[in-house]
Amino acid sequence: MSEPLHTVALHTVYVPRDAAALSVGADETAAAIRAEATRRGIPLRIVRNGSRGMLWLETLVEVETPEGRVAYGPVMAEDVAGLFDAGFLEGADHALAHGLTEKIPYFARQERLTFARCGIIDPLSVEDYRLHGGFRGLERALAMTPAEIVTEVTDSGLRGRGGAGFPTGIKWNTVLNAQADQKYICCNADEGDSGTFADRMIMEGDPFCLIEGMTIAAIAVGATEGYIYIRSEYPHAVATMREAIRLAYDEKWLGDEIHGTGHRFHLDVRVGAGAYICGEETSMLESLEGKRGTVRAKPPLPALEGLFGKPTVVNNVLSLTSVPIILDRGADYYRDFGVGRSRGTLAFQLAGNIKHGGIVEKAFGVTLHELLYEFGGGTITGRPIRAVQAGGPLGAYLPPSLFDLPKDYEAFAAVEAMVGHGGIVVFDDSVDMARQARFAMEFCAAESCGKCTPCRIGAVRGVEVMDRIIAGEKVATNITLLNDLCEVMTDGSLCAMGGMTPIPVRSALKHFPEDFTRSPAAVAAE
């Protein structure tokens, strides 16, 4: 929420309004800057931008200078007077100064396509959005036929960024070719995986990008209504998206006549209610229809019988926010990033016990080692990294011997792991992998929708078996039982919740067997 520009030259200071920045005091920092400027009689414009994604530097305050934006961080309210004294409004040096933001190595080495505007613009300024290339993709799409738009997305090689990696263009083509009186675009913004926050960051930092991507999808497949299903744990994202939608209607980027064309698209936000399973596309559709979020058997595919039984595009936030740049710069431009069949970029999220946690948008092919050490700087506790969980709570735990693996859907699948949503959670050597395996089962038991038995009952049995292993009770027999149970869950579950819960369990057992072979004596001695 920026304040009005005055005609006199005045200093511009950026203070993020992203939830992560707010969680470490960004509002207090902004208030302190405002108060200090008033006290000193300095006219000041404070822009509340999104986050640059260098979260260990939050609150990252930036000052506009002729050379570019200069970064200071982490700035707490009590640091503000000292920054004024040092002359930070002119970009002066200070203990918290990091020079030009875009020259900070963590930021400079990224390849930002989807997050190109995030942290730079005022998220709720249509003018700012347009100044930074916003709506150019949609303008091009408005002049194309639906089939041409779908071809462009197919040719870009974009695969669903929600985790499964299904080609987006193929999904859109199915919906385009379906005959129906009504079609829908549903954005799955139920980002419930631990270690992921990219959806939240872009919804709070560049909400018009999601609106633009969904509108392009709507034109491409002939849909006229859309929903963004956002998890209730993200109140800031919900508020920002709702306000951005209101502004987009005002400026005719949504509604009955999008910018004088015959295209019509109506968009609404719906809020989830704390059920992880609603991140599964068919559960999300049930929830949007006002029902319990239980999974549907497939077929029929949602592309043919989705929301209210109509053909529906279900994509996640990062798939849809990748679409505007594909339409703006062309399929080739996007496809030229990446490796093999993993094209474009992914917003990797460094989380957990990591020194420099945050968003790193890079082309596929970057290794875990580069992400963990060159970007992440190792653990925050200073101890060695023992394991990382990649791709969310249903993703594998990987040991350092696999850190040279390139981030590539196929390369990860080859070692029974997944890139998933790009989330990476780091653990130091104090982690107990048997307890992490137990937690995977506990999480599944708590979050299973209950529709199929392998997931509903299997997870409860899994917790019990893990408890016996942790207690050192008949360990070899119980590990055999655990493996059997994992097989039943993998093969017999209706959806990925039960089907993939064995992945973290088996990977923990495979790569960290020493944590499972406990003797009762050792357990008693603990």
Partner: protein, 162 residues
């Protein structure tokens, strides 16, 4: 601050009617009712069933499916503590032990003075600044036991100043 309005059938009927135009309206209606009254009152179930032409069992099934919907009134403030992996890696379990001792409550309970209800949550999207806690709708990152105590003290101080 959690909603404190006492149950009122008229008010509930108005809240439900305000969401009548939505397709798949049950979740938005439940959110609106919980915002108004702090929980989904048992008496709201037949009103919703009648409005949406559902059985009371259907409505009950939806309310009980979602972790977010509560059947009883919470304390004046709700504390959600993240229990997911990223927070675990930064010793969320230790923080949770501290909170349980400090507030003398367990998850899904309310403190004796009715000030705080404690809820577990899987991921608040603040995984790079773990461990994370949300008090009402305010998110807090890098929450140490000492910082937790300061946050709850300031919540109570703000309340007293009102």
């Amino acid at each position: 601050m959690n909603a404190r309005s006492p149950w009122s059938e008229d008010r509930a009927t108005a809240v439900i009617a305000a969401n009548r135009h939505l397709r798949g309206a049950l979740l938005p209606m439940l959110h609106a009712l919980q915002e108004e009254f702090g929980c989904i009152d048992e008496e709201a179930i037949p009103l919703l069933a009648r409005e949406l032409n559902l059985s009371r069992a259907d409505v009950h099934g939806v309310v009980s499916f979602y972790h977010e919907f509560r059947r009883s009134r919470p304390g004046r403030h709700t504390i959600k503590v993240c229990r997911a992996e990223a927070c675990q890696s930064m010793n969320a379990d230790g923080l949770i032990d501290h909170i349980r001792r400090r507030l003398k409550v367990d998850f899904h309970e309310t403190t004796a003075d009715d000030a705080f209800s404690l809820e577990p949550v899987f991921c608040l999207g603040n995984c790079a600044l773990a461990p994370a806690v949300m008090v009402d709708e305010t998110l807090h990152g890098r929450v140490s036991p000492a910082r937790f105590d300061a946050i709850t003290a300031s919540t109570l101080a703000t309340e007293a100043a009102r």
